[in-house]
Assembly symmetry: C2
């Protein structure tokens, strides 16, 4: 009988008498069916016959057949014995899948990520040990849709102290980062105006993927020019909301001018509009203390969003949204009954991290660390490529390197790539309709690990130098009439 | 001068000479403006005068004014000095917010949550220490949209071994739980049929909030009757996809019959439809080994979704989606460039937890633990309320207690609530159009912490007993003609 099986390419491999008999028979049969070696419709020997052939207990075979029937590999019909089921062909189990995104660059100066090698592992683990050991059992459950109260309490204190944010713990919604908070707010805006698509104004330079999030939700997006004072109000029209980066415009780097702050607030009050404040790197200001959050001026108009992605690590997936009080219910509505995105253990750990003072110490250390990098970048560019001006440097983890007229962003980016350095051109952050600014690079000096900063900067200088031909597309970027008006004044 | 300030209700509280002079002055002024005590338009004394009055350095006052101007509290105009800005009224900072959801019940036997007191804290922390200490720095970054490769590798092995799932690590997408996976698949279905709303068939009893997720995405929902063999195919029509709980129907508790499994697979192959397999508690089967995943039969038709919410804890926000190979790209598309929902440190910890064998040991322990509870529930109900039959008990963390004809679900639920016990009636899980089944309770025997199981069960028996009047709504549930047909056969 074993021989007959063998003609089907099936080796039952049964270790007779061993405790693995059943498991061995079962997986051999399952594999044989799944692999297509036992064709659909084939009638299997009766349990009695197979047991005798293999010299094992009949009950073992019965159990194996039952199991495979319940999984659908075999079919048992009264009177016709056990047959192989009609299976979907296993050929379709294609192993070929899209290649994972790989970093082909030895050095990376693209913005958006802090120095990941600086993550305070030991401190974080110590906080996790404290927090998880002391947690009440309900911390492991679904819990409050706003997130853990321990974290909301810690954040309310921290945000008031460090960013001037006016809130109480009950009004904070912990989320998995800026994108979730933004997406929730987009849903709130849409729910507020069910008949027509509401308009969200966005800074003409920003994170382009956010326009997709907004559009997917059903919002119309209006780009605002950004000048040396930050976002302008000219194209606001009757927008229902505006997304701003008041502390440090991303990617251009200037703070929103005080008069503009006031005008946006007046506009929001007049039209009952919402301001979304993306305070992504508000903790990092070098030359003086941070500019307070816009939310502090009008907690009833501004939805404040902060994140641990720049101050600690994006991998934590932790952010916080402080909506106006009257919007909170709608945010939770938009979240729905089942959306809970932030790991509660990470929430408790961050609460402990803040409450114990570890967060402040980490921020202070990181600030010193990044300021040093920023200073060497400025110094290096000033010395080596004096025709390039560095702006947006008062805060954050990135700076803008403005290329002189005639230099092409794309060419510099390509040149850098050739020598193993990833950099981002300013144009990558331009929203579709927004007028072009002068060519520039957005340099995330916070990105590389400490040991490679010097080399990364050296390659940047090399890529910026004009010695050899600047590449195939060396002609100046296309200029528009609006460009002059919206160019950043250095 | 101090006196003049005092008439505005402002106490500057400046500790002269201390290093807190600046911070003190700044926050006193900020508070005074924010609190509305300094009215908009009020002209402040010149920095020179204020410094002299307070006996502090003029530069300190200049810095404070600058800071508050940059935050927008004050306005500085050449020639007109420094004035208080027009602020949005702070009265709107309403502290009243919706009360957090509270548990008013001493005991909870609602399904959906495992015993949270059984979370293996020490083991988890040990795995976290190993994983976080050994992690490469990029683990703290945004990373691969599919999640950490360490976890995907561990899951591919585990799922093949424990659930028969056929995949490789490249095809797994780590997500924040079933709901995110489901929402992504809904988006994929909608993107596939941009002109008309695709139809998703769902079991007539399930988690009603999922119908909202589906509808919000733009899907039409079709309810399927569920009989004693699981979901029926009668109302499938030309649906584009079906959501099933093949291992243990939620909430009715039966496994999907082998013939039905085969028929659903045939249907999917014939119509190029997608089967979404919600394997929420596949690890827990008591009387024999688990029924393998349906996905194993047709990896090209079935999107398998598993979760750590039942096996470990919902708070971890960890789940996994194994889509058909050709659907993977569309899932990542639906995810968008910025959606990453699972904490990478938790991902690495779970990878270590699985790879080190801790997960298997935990599951084995938990299985023994829950089986014991199940057995005492069955025994207790059989002994104390013999007119009630317990079904759906072969697997999972919940059972169905079918009430005898004439008993009202709502009345039993209300009676239980009165004695401090939260239970769920079967009808809570009925989709809008689905025919009613016989009245029943869905008892999550996994939910209570170990020390309170006995009391929770005792109260359940008390609520089920017919001794006093069964409450104000004691009449039988409304019966429909379809009811008879779809009633579960015990």
């Amino acid at each position: 009988m074993q021989e007959i099986w063998a003609t089907w390419g099936v080796d039952l491999h049964v270790e007779v008498g061993g405790f693995r008999v059943r498991a061995g028979l079962e997986s051999a049969l399952r594999e044989a069916v799944a692999g297509g070696r036992l064709p659909a419709g084939l009638r299997l020997p009766s349990s009695r016959n197979l047991a005798r052939d293999l010299g094992i207990a009949r009950n073992t075979v019965v159990e194996v057949y039952d199991q495979l029937v319940s999984e659908g590999w075999l079919v048992a019909r009264r009177g016709s014995g056990t047959t192989v089921a009609q299976c979907s062909s296993q050929q379709d189990l294609v192993r070929a899948t899209p290649a994972p995104p790989t970093r082909q660059h030895a050095y990376d100066l693209r913005p958006g990520t802090p120095d990941l090698s600086g993550f305070p592992r030991a401190q974080w683990l110590a906080a996790a040990r404290m927090a998880v050991s002391a947690a009440s059992p309900d911390a492991f459950g679904y819990g409050d849709p706003r997130g853990r109260s321990e974290l909301r309490r810690a954040l309310a204190g921290y945000l008031a102290r460090a960013r001037g944010v006016r809130t109480d713990p009950d009004r904070i919604v912990v989320c998995s980062g800026f994108t979730q908070a933004f997406s929730l707010l987009c849903h709130v805006l849409c729910a507020r105006a069910p008949t027509k698509a509401p308009t969200l104004a966005m800074e003409g330079y920003g994170l382009p993927h956010l326009t997709r999030t907004a559009a997917d939700t059903g919002l119309r997006v209006q780009a605002l020019d950004v000048d040396s004072h930050g976002a302008t109000l000219d194209d606001l029209g009757d927008a229902d909301a505006v997304l701003l980066t008041p502390a440090h415009q991303f990617p251009l780097g200037m703070p929103l001018h005080p008069l503009r702050r006031a005008r946006f607030l007046e506009w929001a009050a007049a039209g009952d509009a919402l301001i979304i404040e993306d305070d992504y790197d508000g903790e990092f200001r070098y030359d003086r203390q941070p500019v307070g959050a816009l939310q502090a001026r009008a907690p009833d108009r501004v939805a404040y969003v902060g994140t641990a992605s720049k101050s600690l690590a994006p991998g934590l997936r932790l952010g916080w949204l402080v909506p106006p009080a009257r919007t909170l219910g709608r945010v939770l509505d938009a979240m729905g009954p089942a959306e809970r995105n932030a790991d509660t253990l990470a929430q408790l750990t961050l609460a402990e991290f803040i409450a114990s003072g570890r967060y402040d110490r980490h921020i202070r250390r990181a600030r010193t660390h990044y300021r040093r990098r920023r200073d060497s970048l400025i110094e290096l560019v000033r010395r080596q490529t004096p025709d390039i001006s560095v702006t947006g440097i008062a805060a954050g983890l990135h700076a803008l390197l403005q290329l002189p007229p005639g230099r092409s962003e794309a060419a510099v980016v390509a040149r850098a790539a050739k020598i193993g350095l990833a950099v981002a051109g300013l144009n990558e952050y331009r929203l579709a309709e927004a007028p072009r600014h002068q060519p520039a690079l957005v340099i995330g000096y916070g990105t590389p690990p400490e040991h490679s900063v010097t080399n990364a900067f050296a390659r940047l200088v090399q890529a910026l130098s004009t010695d050899p031909a600047p590449g195939p597309r060396g002609r100046p970027e296309r200029s528009t009439t609006r460009e002059a008006r919206s160019t950043i004044n250095p």
